[in-house]
């Protein structure tokens, strides 16, 4: 790991000021960033830890019923604190990595990193969530811009993710057993106005919505509704764990399972 300046501000204002410095990088729980730094794949001049800022952590319910999750809320805390209000999101959080990783890793870190195989982007996109930063709000549909790419500007800090809570929802992850990331994961969310389906782990473009499945499921919310559909293997990830065709097939299977699980 290369050396860097380390700051652990106690307020958001201090964090924003520090993030405007040259080559500053925000640090959430570090469960991705610290291994990345060790491999010298990242070499920021300054790390700004966000986990000592009290207002960035915690789960609450807004007046409109949406679930507000502070950016530095850990996966373990979401698994517990979101369970009553948004059980599908809590279940997703409780199945990321392993217990020690869940005790450090944060939702804001995961969303800002936009790993193409991470779980949270599927929940954020399928829920039609809003990503709040220190100075604006970004709709999930505009936030994820491809593998490890987001709409965040240089130095911009994610402060909260606001999830509309669906009538029914479920996440199904086909786990890569060594990394415990999603080989393919599908989050299905049924709202009064229609169904949203987001697929992670499969595409070279990162998380995406499967709009054909959304239309079919909006008309008939049952696994049978997608039996005649198929996803093209173009742009799917191919690696030693699975071919593009395998991932495309798996996305359909996991969508069906998620619909069945959502009931």
């Amino acid at each position: 790991m290369y050396a860097f300046e380390f700051d652990r501000p106690a307020t958001l204002d201090e964090a924003i000021a520090l993030m405007s410095e040259e080559e500053a990088q925000a640090l959430g729980g570090g469960q991705t960033l610290i291994p990345t730094l060790k491999q010298r794949l990242a070499a920021p001049a300054r790390l700004v830890s966000l986990t000592a800022i009290p207002e960035l952590a915690g789960v609450c319910v807004a007046d409109d019923g949406a679930l507000c999750v502070g950016a530095t809320t850990t996966h373990a805390a979401i698994a517990q604190e979101a369970a009553a209000h948004y059980p599908a999101l809590a279940a997703l959080a409780g199945n990321i990595g392993d217990p020690a990783v869940r005790n450090r890793g944060t939702i804001g870190g995961s969303v800002a990193n936009n790993d193409p195989s991470a779980c949270y982007p599927a929940a954020v996109l399928a829920s039609g969530a809003t990503i709040k930063t220190a100075n604006r709000e970004i709709a999930a549909d505009d936030f994820f811009e491809g593998m490890f790419a987001t709409a965040l500007e240089e130095g911009e800090i994610v402060t909260e993710i606001r999830f509309p809570v669906p009538e029914k929802a479920a996440y199904m992850k086909f786990e890569q057993p060594a990394s415990r990331f999603a080989l393919v994961g599908v989050f299905v969310a049924k709202f009064a106005g229609g169904v949203r389906v987001a697929v992670t782990g499969a595409s070279e473009e990162g998380v995406f919505r499967w709009t054909e499945a959304e239309e079919a499921l909006s008309a008939n919310f049952s696994p049978d509704a997608i039996s005649g559909l198929s996803l093209a293997a173009d742009n799917m990830i191919g690696d030693l764990h699975g071919t593009p065709e395998y991932r495309a097939h798996l996305a359909k299977v996991m969508t069906g399972r998620a619909v069945a699980a959502a009931g």
Binding site: D98, P99, R104
Partner: protein
């Protein structure tokens, strides 16, 4: 270098660290507490698990400076006050829950975190909780038995 202060195994400690100093380096090299092991340094093996404010974390995936003001517990803090083995440690000995012993500090710390959260886990819950702790010797059965025994439950396990 910056000053860091925390409580380790109930004792206040301070030290000088770089930003990039990992908690595990501070514990081992700064404080001489070498019971916390570095198995992989890629946050996969769990040999470095310690408790930070009561929660199991991988000490190779947290900077020492992030533990400023925290209560840290390591394997050196797990024995009973009179120096005898704690219930979990004794159960690992009784059920031969180790061979080479390298992963054992992390296994004991994870087991303690599990039992604090869930005092009577099922065998499946024990195995699930140990997902981030790798043992290359035992095949896990005796570790699972030891944790079941430490929770005061029957040690017969389904895998045998």
């Amino acid at each position: 270098m910056a000053k860091v202060s925390m409580s380790v195994n109930g004792k206040p400690v301070t030290g000088e660290v770089e930003g990039r100093t990992l908690l595990v380096q501070f514990l081992r090299e700064g404080l001489g507490l070498t019971g916390t092991h570095v198995g992989c340094d890629t946050s996969q093996c769990g040999a470095c698990v310690v408790h930070v404010d009561g929660r199991a974390v991988k000490a190779c995936a947290i900077f020492a400076a992030e533990a400023e003001g925290a209560e840290v517990t390591t394997i050196e803090g797990m024995a009973d006050a009179d120096g005898s083995l704690s219930t979990i440690q004794q159960a690992f000995q009784d059920h031969h829950g180790l061979q080479c012993g390298f992963c054992t500090p992390g296994m004991v710390m994870s087991a303690a975190a599990l039992l604090a959260e869930n005092p009577k886990p099922s065998e499946a819950e024990v195995r699930d909780y140990l997902e981030g702790n790798l043992c290359r010797c035992t095949g896990y059965h005796n570790i699972v038995k030891a944790i079941m025994a430490a929770s005061g439950q029957d040690v017969a396990i389904a895998a045998e």
